[in-house]
Symmetry: C2
Subunit: 352 residues, 2 copies
């Protein structure tokens, strides 16, 4: 079932068979057809290992998938969505996706995983996700001269290929919406600031607040891991504090679900007594009670862009500095937010 047995069967040389099947010149149409026919009859498939060895290409792209920070240790749903888009594009070009799941949330370990993937030449290209402010993986991939596309941006002195959603605009819109509903104390439950996206989301929030002449209160702009439990505990802290916010903007839907639970526990009616919004448009956001106002950031589309960019890079059709794609976001208004409630009677701050 190797090319040599096929060549022997056809009474032709190996090179002719190879050239025929790979669509090169130097082989007559009749012979080509004869080879094609016999090859499919006999069920011949070129050994990808040998092909990889010869060409030096693996026809695979590597991706490290961040795990959710708690629960079933599954892959973060943003990245599983992204993977869907990437895989769709790659598959069409006969590339494979080698997925490594990062079970522990340890940046050093993530870098080591990338290093392993690159250095052991398992892959031709890399997808670098959940970029940090100064992401060492970008320098690493550049040094290894391996094509890569990041999902999210980073601080880099040199150009690199990136695809990202418009985090800044998303949080500008979300904050603006709250302000327009009369809220003045708008809290931000953000992710850890070493992630670049968290910086951008904060910037969007700050821009909207500044634009309306509202001050930024560091006591109500908190940061934590992107999980329900952190949303719950951070929100509890917010509500217990003096002068609690009337609106809470959460960096992810998961944070928002946790925050909603904390609000319910305090007896607050979500959408009336307090406004909450999320980010991600997760399927649960449409079916929770009340349905969550959120932002659709089009992960599948982003994944497709990443896949396409990667292929262009691999084919030499584009240089990294040409690949900068900022996916617009779509605000999804639902019922978890509303008009700012009237100020409580003055003795309300006695409540524990």
């Amino acid at each position: 079932m190797s090319i040599v047995s096929l060549a022997r069967d056809l009474d032709l040389s190996i090179s002719t068979v190879s050239r025929a099947l790979n669509g090169y010149k130097d082989v007559s149409p009749e012979t080509r057809e004869r080879i094609r026919k016999r090859a499919s009859e006999i069920g011949y498939r070129p050994n990808p290992g040998a092909r990889r060895l010869k060409s030096g290409k693996t026809c695979a792209v590597g991706m490290i998938l961040p795990a959710v920070s708690e629960g079933n240790h599954g892959v973060d749903s943003v990245y599983s969505g992204l993977m869907g888009g990437v895989a769709t594009e790659l598959e069409a070009a006969d590339y494979h996706l080698i997925a490594t799941v990062q079970t522990r949330t340890d940046p050093d370990r993530e870098t080591a995983l990338y290093e392993n993937l690159v250095h052991a030449s398992w892959v031709d290209a890399l997808i670098i996700g959940r970029t940090r402010v100064n992401d060492p993986r970008v320098a690493l991939a550049r040094k290894a001269r391996i094509p890569f596309v990041t999902y999210g941006r980073t601080n880099s002195s040199e150009p690199y290929a990136w695809v990202d959603t418009d985090n800044e605009q998303a949080f500008y819109l979300l904050t603006k919406r709250q302000i327009e509903s009369g809220h003045t104390r708008v809290a931000l439950l953000n992710g850890p600031l070493h992630y670049y996206f968290a910086i951008l989301r904060q910037q969007g929030y700050v821009r909207a607040m500044m634009e309306s002449g509202l001050s930024i209160d560091p006591l109500i702009t908190l940061n934590g891991e992107l999980s329900e439990s952190h949303g719950y505990s951070l929100c509890r802290n917010l509500l217990v504090g003096a002068n609690p916010p009337t609106s809470i903007i959460c960096a992810t839907d998961a944070l928002a679900f946790g925050a909603m639970a904390a609000c319910r526990e305090r007896g607050l009616k979500i959408g009336l007594d307090i406004s909450i919004s999320g980010y991600g448009n997760s399927s649960a956001s449409a079916y929770c009670d009340p349905p969550l106002t959120t932002v659709d950031h089009q992960v599948f589309e982003n994944g497709r862009h990443i896949g396409q960019s990667l292929l262009r890079l691999l084919r030499g059709q584009a240089q990294p500095e040409e690949i900068h794609y900022l996916e617009p976001v779509v605000l999804v208004p639902r019922q978890s937010d509303g008009q700012c409630p009237p100020p409580p009677p003055s003795n309300s701050n006695l409540s524990r």
Copy 2:
């Protein structure tokens, strides 16, 4: 940076270098150490492509990930959790996971994806998930003589390696719980019956009902895709019908979320007027309102078992027929279900 340049550098033969680095005999301790040292100095890493070609092993395992049936086209969270467990085990053994996302829910296409993975010899072994009642992929993998482990069972005349959760017991427990709370009209919102797990869940439901002398009403045992929207529409149908159920057992948390939304829409208080339970213990299930009674089926653990089983199979340490692992389930009682409400006044069925 190949073995030949390393050998030249050391003034040794290629074979000696190879044997030294691979821990074979036939090389003196001093020489071995010298080679080791120089190899790490020079940063030599054996080319995995050449190694694969020679050994005929790819050191990779293939897995097809079912996409969620709607929304962001992401990977089903059960399978992303499973992937986490599998990857954890494989990684420790220096195996890689090649993940293919099945974006369209088309069984034929899924089979084709497996065929491609196997036939193009991209992988040494396969994980076959979301097994169907008569799953063609099992026969296919056996014919290709490629080791595989299924997640879920199927009808097969010959033994095969499987790992599964105890679906039957889970739905027996869930149903029993409803019956013990006084419910007699217990609905089942199940997945499509061509999935083996749906059959098993139905069996558990039926066993509990029979055991308590309750009859099975086909009008309230419905089947649909595993999504919020199907949960919503199926539940609407249930509530509109004559003699609606007082309890709804859903095959997944997603179905349950949809069902909850439909119940709220009808003005029913979940946990009081109607009881709902899910399956999966998704993170949202703990934070929705009311928190959802569900079952934890330990996907990460299942993934680890699959990974371990695969490695044993690949190393010849076990035969497929020895690998049958049924993961026990854990019921997670929360507040979405409760005592059966008293029967409504007789004119209630006039309500639209």
